[in-house]
Symmetry: C5
Subunit: 305 residues, 5 copies
C-alpha cells in the first residue's frame, strides 16, 4: 500500500511512485506506435473511402466507461472487505486478550503461550492467503511439535483456533471461569474463525473471470482502434489525445486488476506484513512487554508491505 | 468457476477458455450477416431517402449501457451473496465442530456420526439447489433408514439440522454440557439454518423476469439495427465496428444471465462440488483423520466445478 | 412472480408473457400516433424555421436514463428487501419449531396449536400487507374466540406473537425449559417481530412520491417530443426508432412502478401465497405430518402468486 | 409524506399535489425569462461572432446528471435510514412490551406507567429531532416532577431510557425476573438507545455542505446558460426545451434537498406525527385498551405528517 | 463541518463560506490563463491545420465524470462510516453508563472515576486519529501516574478500555454484579473496542493511492486541454465555459480529497472536538452534574470543529 504524505495538488500531478504508470508504460507505447501508423497511413487510408468517424467510438467509449466503473466498484469492494476483515482481526485479538486478562486473572507469564498463539494466527493467515509456506519466524513462537504439525496442515489457522479454545477450556474446567464468561471468550474465537473464513473466501474466489476478460479486451481493442478514428480530424494531435484517453482507460483497468486480489504483493495491495506487525505490537504492549518490535514504516517510495 | 493463473496482459486478450465467447458466437455471426446485408443494400437503401443516423443510436446505446450496468450489478450481487453464504457455511461448520469438540469432550469416534451429518448437509444442499436428486454417495455417510427418509423429504437439510440438534440435546440431557454452552452450539445451528434459507431464497427467486427480458430485448434489437446506422459512414468498416460494439453489449448480457443463477453449472457459476469437498476435508482434518480426500483442482480449461 | 423455464436466447426475444408489454401497449400506440403526426406535419413544420434537433434530446435522454437507473435501483432494493424479509420469515419459523421441539420435548400433539399459530402468522401478515381482510381459511386453524378477536385487531400478527410468547412461557413456568433456553426461543420471536415490522414499513412507506412523479413525467414528455426531433432526419424510420426508444424508457418506468410495491399482485411482485404455502409445508413436515398440502406451481403463463 | 392512491398513468402526469413543482415554479419562470432574453437578443448576439454551441453543454449536462444522481443516492440513503430507524423503533417498542408482559406477569394496571414512558419516548424524540420544545401533551402522560425535569434536559430521551431501566431493575431486585430475562429486556433498551443515537446523528450531520453547494450551483448556472446554447438552433422552441431540461434538473435538486433532512416538515419528509401515533395505538392495544386514539390519515392533498 | 442555517435557494448560489472555492481558486485562475493563451494563439494555431475538436473531449469528459462519481462515492462512504462510528461511540457510552448505574447501584461519587475514563476515551481517540500528542486537558481527568503511562503508550485507548474492564470486574468479584450482567457491560466495552479499531482502520488506510492519483491527473489534464478544444467555436465565451466546466470537475475532485480523510481538520471534515464535547455533556448530565460545559457552536463562518 502507498502511504503518501500530503502533497501540493500541483506536484501531485507529476508523482511517479505509486501510480500504475510503470506497469502500463508498454501498453501506452504501443498506443503511441499505433497513432504514428495511423498518421503515416492517413493519405492512403483516405483514398479507400472508409471514414472511421468518432461517433461510434464515442458511444462505445461511454459504454466501456460505465462497465469499467462497475468493475472498479467490484474490485474496490473486495479490497475494502479485505481491509475490513483485517481491521476486525486487530479488534477481536485485542478484545480476546482483554477478556482473557480480565476474566482468568492469569499472570502475564501464564498468558505468554496463549498470546504467542494469537500472534501466530495472523502470520499463518498471511502466508496462507499469499500461498506461501509458513515463514520460519512463526516457529520461534511455538512449541516444536506444534510447529511441525502446523507446517503439514493445509488449514493451520484452524488448528490454532482449536488450541486457543482448548487453552480457555482448561480454565473453565478448573472452575476459574464460569460458563457465561467462557461463552463470551468463545464468541470472540468464533469471530476470529469468521474473519479467517472471509479472507479465504476472497482469496479463493476471483471476480467472475469472463467479467474481467470482457472489460480488459474491450478496453484494449477500443484504445487500439481509437487513433484510426481520431486521425482524420486531429492529425498530429492524435498522439497526445489518443495517449491521454488510453491512459485514462488502461490505468483504471490495471488498477482494478491490482485491487481485485487485495492479498497480493502489488503496490496497491494490503500491507499484510505491517498489519501483522501492528497486531503483534498491540498484544505485546497489552501484556506489559517493554521491548516492543519497531513499527513498520513506508519505504522511500512511500510503500508499506 | 474459472480459476485462471496469472497471465501477461497481452496474451490475456486472446484467451479463449472461460470467456462467454463460445456462447455468443452464433449471435455475433448473425450480427456479421446483418452488417453484410446492410452493406449490400446500401445503394438501394440510400435511394429511399431514409437516413438512419447514428445520433439516436448513440443516445439509445448509452441508455442501454446504463441499464445493462444496473442489471450486471444485480446479477453480481446475487453471485456474491451466494458465495458469501457458502463461505459462511464453511465458517459455521468449522465453528460448530470446534465447539462440539471443546465442550462435549467426546472422543473422535463418538463424534464421527455427527461429523457425517455435517458433511452430508452441504452435499444435500447442493443437490437441492441444483434441483438434482440427492446423490448416492451421501447415502454412504448415513444410516440406511435415515437415508431412505431423506430421499423422500422435499427439504432434507432441514431434517439434518433437526438431527444435529437432537444429537447435541443428548449431551445437555446427560448434564455433560450446560445450558449456556448448549445455547452457543444451538446458535451455530441456527446460523446454518439461515444459510440454507438464504440459498433457497436465491435459487427460488429469479431477478424480476421483466427486467432481464427488457434488457435482453433492447440489447438485441439495438445490435441488429446498429449496422444500418453505421453503414452510411463506415462502409466496409461497418462489420468490424458493429461486431465490436455488439460483442461488448451481448457478452455482458450473456454473463449477467450466467451470474444471475449462481448455483447453476455454467462456466462462471459457483463451484459447489469443490466447496463441498473443501468443507469435508476441513471437518475430517479437524477430526484427526489421516486419509483426507484429495482437493478438487481446476481442469485443463481452468474450470472448477 | 414469473418463473420462466430456461429459453433459447432467440425465442426469449419474442416472449410475450411476463413482460410489461401488455401494460404499456397503449402508451406505445400513443407514441406511434405522435410519430405519424410528426411525419404528416413535417412539411408545414419545416416552413416554420424551427428545427428541433436531436442534440438537446440526446443530453436529456442520457440524463433521464441516469435518473431512471437510480429509480430502478431504489425499486429493486425494496423488492429485494421484501424478499429477504420473507425468506427470513421461513428461516425463523423453521428455527423456532426446531428449538421448541428440541427444548420442550413436547409431543407432536401438544405442539399442534403452537404450529397453527406459526402457520397463521404469515397468512395474517400477507392479508395485512395486501390490505385485505384476514381470509377465512385462517379461522380453521385457530380457536373461534381468538379468530374473532384477531379479525377486529388492526395489528393481528402482533397478537399472534404475544400468544406464542405466552405458550412458551408456560413451559418456563413449569420448569420444563430453563431461562437460558427460553431466552433463545424468545429471541427467535423477537426476530419474527422484526420481520413483521420490516414488512409493514415497506408497505406503508412508498418511494418519495415526488421522485417517482418527476421520473414518470420526464420519461413521458421525453418520449412524446422525441418524434419531433427524429423526423427531420429519419422520415419513415421515425416510427420504428421512436417506438424502440420509448419502449426502452417506458417499460423500465412501468417495471420500477411494479417493483416499488413488492407486496402487490402485479406480475412481477412477490408470490406471497406461494411463500405462505411453502412455510406451511415446511412446518407440517417437521411435525411429521403425512398429508402435506401440494406445493403451489406457476400457472400456464409461468406466473406464481 | 405523500400517500397517493393508485392513479392511471395518464392522469398521474398532471398530478399537482405532492410534486415539488410548487417549490420550483419561481426558478422555472426565471428560466423562461432567460429564454425570452436569449430569443430577443439573438440577432445582436449573432453579430458578435460568438457561437455558444450545445456540444460543451451536452458534456456538462451529462456530468452534472451523474453528480446529481450521486447526490440523490446520498439524500435518499439518509431518508431511507431514518425510516429504517423509526420502523425499528416501532419493532423494539412492541418487543419490549411483549417481553415485559410475558416475563414480569405484571397486571395491565401496573404496566401503565411503563407504557406511558414508552409512548413518551418517540414523542420526545420527534420534538428533539425537529428542534421543537417538548409538546405539552407529553406532560399528560408523565408525573409532574418528571415532566419538569425532562423539559429542562437537553437529551430527554436519554432520561426516559434510564427510568425504564430502573423500572425493570425493580422487578429484578425483587427476584420476579431472573438476570437472564432481565438481560433480554435490557438489550431491547440498548437497541432503543441505538435508534435514538442514530436519529440524532442524521439530524446533526448534514450532507457535506460543499457537496450540495457545488451541485446546486452547477445545476443553476447550467440551466441559466442553456437557453443561450439552444437558441441558435431551436428559436421559439427554446422556451419549451429549456424549461423541460431545467425542470428535470432543478426538480431533482430540490427533491434531494428535501430528502436530505428526513426529519423536516416538507412534503416528502417522514410523517413523524403519524409514526408516533401508530406506536401509541400499538402499545395501547397490546395493553388491552379499548378506546384507542384514531389513526392519522392523509389530508386531502394526500399528505401525512 | 459546515452547519449552514436554511438559505433561500437564490442566495445559496452566492454563498462563499464552506465551499471549496477558496481552495481551488488558484487552479481556476490557471484555467483562465490557459483560456487566454488559447484565444491569443488561435490564429497561429489554426494555420497549423490541427483542429482539436470537442468530440474526443466529450467522450473523455463523460468517462472522467463517471470515474469521479465513483471516487466521490468512495470518499463519501469513508466520511459516512467515520460519522457512523462516532455516532455509535456516543450510543455505546450512554448505554455503558446506563448499564453501570442500573446494575451496580454505585453512587454518583463512586462512578466519577469511571465516567472520567469514559470522557477520556474519545479525547484520546481524537488525538490519536489526528496524529496529535494527547492534549493536556485529558490529564486533568485522570490520576497522574495513569496519565504518564498513557502519554507514552502508542495505543492509549486500548489501555483505557482495559482499565474500564478491570473497574467493572471489581464489582463482579465482590458479587455485586452477576456474571450475566457483567457480560452485558463487557459486550458494550467490546463494542467500544470495535469503534476504536474501525476509526484506526479508516485513518491508517487511505483510498488506494493510484486511484486518487489517476482521477486527479486526468481531471487536471482534461481541464488544461479543454480551452484548446473550445476556442475554435466559442471564441470569447471560451473563458466562461471553460472555467465553468473546470469548476464542476475540480471542485468535486477537491471535495473528494477532503472527505477521503474524515478525521482531518479541513472545512468538510468531521467535528471531532464538538463530538467529544457532546459525549462529555451527555455523560455528566446522566451523572446528575449541574455545571455542564457549554455545547460547542458553529463559528461565524458556520463551521464546527
Amino acid at each position: 500500500m502507498i502511504i503518501r504524505p500530503h502533497q501540493h495538488w500541483f506536484f501531485r500531478l507529476f508523482d511517479w511512485h505509486g501510480s500504475v504508470l510503470s506497469k502500463i508504460k508498454n501498453r501506452l507505447f504501443l498506443n503511441v506506435a499505433m497513432s504514428c501508423v495511423a498518421l503515416i497511413c492517413l493519405d492512403w487510408y483516405e483514398t479507400l473511402g472508409i471514414k472511421l468517424t468518432l461517433a461510434p467510438f464515442s458511444l462505445l467509449g461511454i459504454a466501456i466507461a460505465i462497465f469499467l466503473g462497475f468493475r472498479n466498484s467490484v474490485s474496490y469492494a473486495r479490497f475494502n472487505e479485505a481491509r475490513l476483515l483485517w481491521g476486525n482481526l486487530m479488534i477481536q485479538q485485542r478484545t480476546l486478550l482483554r477478556q482473557v486478562k480480565t476474566y482468568t486473572q492469569a499472570s502475564d507469564e501464564e498468558l505468554r503461550p496463549f498470546v504467542n498463539l494469537q500472534i501466530a494466527f495472523p502470520l499463518l493467515l498471511k502466508d496462507q492467503l499469499r500461498k506461501n509456506a509458513p515463514s520460519s519466524d512463526i516457529g520461534a513462537l511455538l512449541p516444536a511439535d506444534l510447529w511441525e504439525s502446523l507446517r503439514r496442515d493445509p488449514f493451520p489457522c484452524n488448528q490454532i483456533l482449536f488450541l486457543m479454545g482448548k487453552w480457555l477450556e482448561r480454565y473453565r474446567q478448573r472452575g476459574d471461569v464460569s460458563d457465561i464468561l467462557f461463552q463470551s471468550m468463545d464468541q470472540t474465537l468464533s469471530r476470529l474463525a469468521s474473519i479467517q473464513g472471509g479472507c479465504e473466501r476472497i482469496a479463493s474466489t476471483p471476480v467472475p473471470f469472463a467479467y474481467s476478460l470482457i472489460v480488459h479486451r474491450t478496453v484494449y481493442l477500443f484504445c487500439t482502434l481509437l487513433p484510426l478514428a481520431l486521425v482524420p480530424d486531429l492529425h498530429y494531435m492524435t498522439i497526445l489525445v489518443s495517449v491521454f484517453i488510453s491512459y485514462t482507460f488502461i490505468s483504471l483497468d490495471a488498477l482494478a486488476e491490482e485491487l481485485e486480489e487485495p492479498f497480493g504483493t502489488a503496490a496497491n495491495d494490503l500491507p499484510l506484513n505491517s498489519l501483522c506487525n501492528d497486531i503483534q505490537i498491540n498484544l505485546l504492549s497489552m501484556l506489559g512487554e517493554r521491548n516492543l518490535p519497531p513499527r513498520h514504516q513506508p519505504n522511500r517510495h512511500f510503500r508499506l508491505d
